[in-house]
Symmetry: D2
Subunit: 289 residues, 4 copies
């Protein structure tokens, strides 16, 4: 897992076809790049191929990512392969959206501050003022955009503006309790991660812990997923669970669930920024080492 | 957890009321019974009280359970308390119902044969002939009652007959792939345990692993529950999970899920026969040590 | 698990003897106390009995804990029973000791600030100055007592003074990297909890993650235990694990282990302050609901 | 995970060197083999490279593994790369060794009978006669070689003979309670898997569950590892755990541990026969999808 500053990630996707690995690995060899980790997956039902390689340039002289991309584009085109080149050490420009619950935000800011999650947090956006002191202690800008039925659209415009001005590549909904508009969801496809406090598809929608209590389940969970325009239905990245019992009233489940929400969201973000997550047919492919 | 042959279980339930513990523990003291384990739960939302005590008679002379029950009945009546007295070592008369999948049956028969689950298996009942050799090796009667649209009702009558003739106290649906009639469900209320191969309430109904694959979940699970007349909706006793990923096709999930189905079903049966499971408002209370 | 302000905990321990439950439950009944939760354990090998009851006084008039204790002492004496009465909502006066690693401290302060752990943190004590800003943000006193070979004894005296002046009932060693003297360990018997970053008894002593890497284990863990005068050998309260693989170098294990250290330590503290933990023969008995 | 009959596995290992992936993936491309799954690991501390590819020959005409191996040998030699080519569907010739405990054997025979583990079990070897009926029901030869201080060496010779005559590629010690001689261990290096009933390195040697009880741990585990000439110290393949508490006496831990022993051993065998396990410096590298 340890990756040095000089490591790069090349991830790619195309239809299943003979040579789909070779086109990438041969190029890396020719470019004098040592592959420290490669993994691929072939979805035989969908006829789709996914690959991710971490590599270290070994040629003398500087590594020129633009030239690398241009040269590889030629090869990739023959496979209709889409690809992405990223420095492994890149800190991802991120907006975190919250409401009143602070556990996920607190956890993410801790991981951010200690370098455990290589995020470059640009701003905290909230429909409530409550978490501003936490943001301040971490020295981060906090935007309070209260949402009412009448202002939803204009407030979303402000959020969009923050995203655009900061050039945020990732939006994390860390218990943001407002439903985003379809337009907003579409804008953020593949770059907005939400944490839902149930093991989806169980207990979609509001107050999942109360639903879980009523049902009498023996496990509660959390689901981190990309958002799409169908509420709580985007591609799942990570899920976590905690055993519970009859003695956990809804208010206990809320508390009990916090840890697993934090861990599940952090794990999903980690996978995302390590460029391990691919999407296809409403599902994710996650290439781990 | 170790209980000797001379240990008894007294479990009881009533409305929450001052003295609900004392009525039982004082009686046990007066009867010279040493309590090796007691646990209780008070459901403050439902106003219901649950208690379970394991005890060892220490008086000289034999322990007379009938006299014990009669004497305790007087005290319990003042609390409208229902109770049950059972020897801890009692092997529970059980019918196991199966279809074609044999993993749960194989697992239960192993635990039965080695004494790990104190079941007194009376018969295996199936709508298919496939698993008869397995039953035979274990020296157990096997009833093959094929079910068609036209024979469903008459076949259920035969099952009922087996249950009655064997005086079975417990019916285990170990991947029995037929929906029981409401009448049958009512007959078996509180004494029939089903294993469903999903983490309910997610993926109710048919082919849950295929549903799980389509949804792209990162965990599959199993749920052991008492049956009631609402398919896959009875009170949950135990749930188990296994992490999965994109590389698990539906057929892989089916295989992957087997272990967790076996473990979850066995755990639920264990809790049931140790008289740890109480029911209320469609949920279970499970008093563990 | 939900306990209201008016709930009390009575926990007790004695040799196994007929009536050991009744002596406590009958008294609670006589005092018009409604038991919301009781659980007991009888260790048949050690001949020891443990019980914990949560109860709610229902008599008119105020509950007088001193009178309760005095009255119960008479009954308990006949059983050589030791006992403790505590309000369930009591915030426990606590000192947290740290060195440079901040993950456990950060986690505990979050749980403290949000009321999840009912601690009344009196001070943070450290042999390093690094974590003072974190303490300050939470408005907590921070004592920096640097330790060298020559000052160890005098610094421990200062720590003892802080404990005495604050009347701390609990000392949490949240990755405090100094070995305490036997005298200090004895002073803190039963009221100091340490988190060790391995699954004891595996990898005692220094750099357990490096030891784990060398051994090639597939799981790393953490152990929260009471300290005693034998390093990393006190009674275990809680353990947690995380699966790892060959790709986790020692420095990755250090990072990976942080979450499980935080969770395991927090769980142990929770069990301790809920008065669920008993000690006997170098082991713990933990009475859960 | 689903692999069709025509899928092959090519696994290889060499010192870290530019082109170590390319040498293999380019060859597969040239041989018209479609890679359905590839994963590699570079151990930067040891300077070692590991790779595993699953592939499907797509050329017209039969796939000739001997020609493939001969041709690839030339390329591999330039990297001092050792490699192995195996049909994914190959059933591995296996000997299972047992003593009296039958849970792991029962579990393996079930997975064998249902095709879940592609083993070709040649014989069951035991130092006790107890498990012969189980072997017989599965139609498998059973060799009873009782071991005494005086006969140990001659009995091992008989075991060696069985291994040689059956051409067994894998020996599974499914709770075989005899220590093998160093000579035997050396003979079986890399092809004998043992299950030890503790989370190594904790509780090596005899009666680990009793050791665990004395220590008061809150988790028990099992470790599947390759054997070497240092008892319970070979490279670890898989580990599993189960939470336990004070109420588990040693005899309960023995029972509780059975499930996790079965699952851990089965998982290790699965990883081994899928050619995912590599060894280096006393540790394993396990290339999962």
């Amino acid at each position: 897992m340890t990756t040095m500053a000089t490591t790069w990630i090349l991830s790619a996707q195309c239809e299943s076809r003979l040579g789909s690995v070779d086109v990438l690995t041969r190029f890396l060899k020719e470019q004098h790049c040592y592959i420290t980790e490669v993994s691929s997956f072939d979805d035989y039902r969908a006829g789709q191929f996914f690959i991710r390689a971490a590599f270290r340039p070994e040629a003398t002289g500087d590594f020129d990512p633009s030239a690398f991309e241009a040269d590889f584009q030629e090869r990739a085109s023959a496979f209709n392969m889409t690809f992405e080149l990223t420095p492994a050490s890149k800190r991802v420009k991120t907006i975190i959206m919250v409401s009143k619950a602070d556990h996920c935000l607190n956890d993410l800011l801790y991981r951010h501050r200690t370098g455990q999650l290589p995020l470059d947090i640009q701003a905290i956006v909230s429909n409530h003022p409550d978490l501003e002191p936490l943001a301040q202690w971490h020295g981060l800008p906090y935007y309070h955009f209260p949402v009412t039925a009448g202002t939803k659209s204009s407030q979303e415009a402000k959020i969009r503006q923050v995203i655009e001005e900061t050039e945020a590549e990732l939006v994390v909904l860390a218990r943001y309790m407002q439903v985003l508009s379809p337009a907003m969801c579409n804008l953020l496809t593949g770059r907005a991660i939400n944490i839902h406090h149930s093991l989806l598809p169980g207990f979609r929608g509001a107050r999942p812990y109360h639903q879980a209590y009523e049902k009498g389940v023996k496990m509660v969970g959390a689901t981190a997923h990309y958002i799409n325009d169908d509420l709580d239905e985007g591609p799942i990245i990570a899920q976590g669970i905690e055993p519970v019992d009859h003695a956990h009233y809804p208010e206990d489940l809320v508390i009990k669930g916090r840890d697993i929400e934090c861990l599940t969201l952090a794990r999903a973000i980690q996978l995302h920024i390590e460029r391990r997550v691919f999407m296809h047919s409403g599902r994710t492919v996650i290439l781990k080492h």
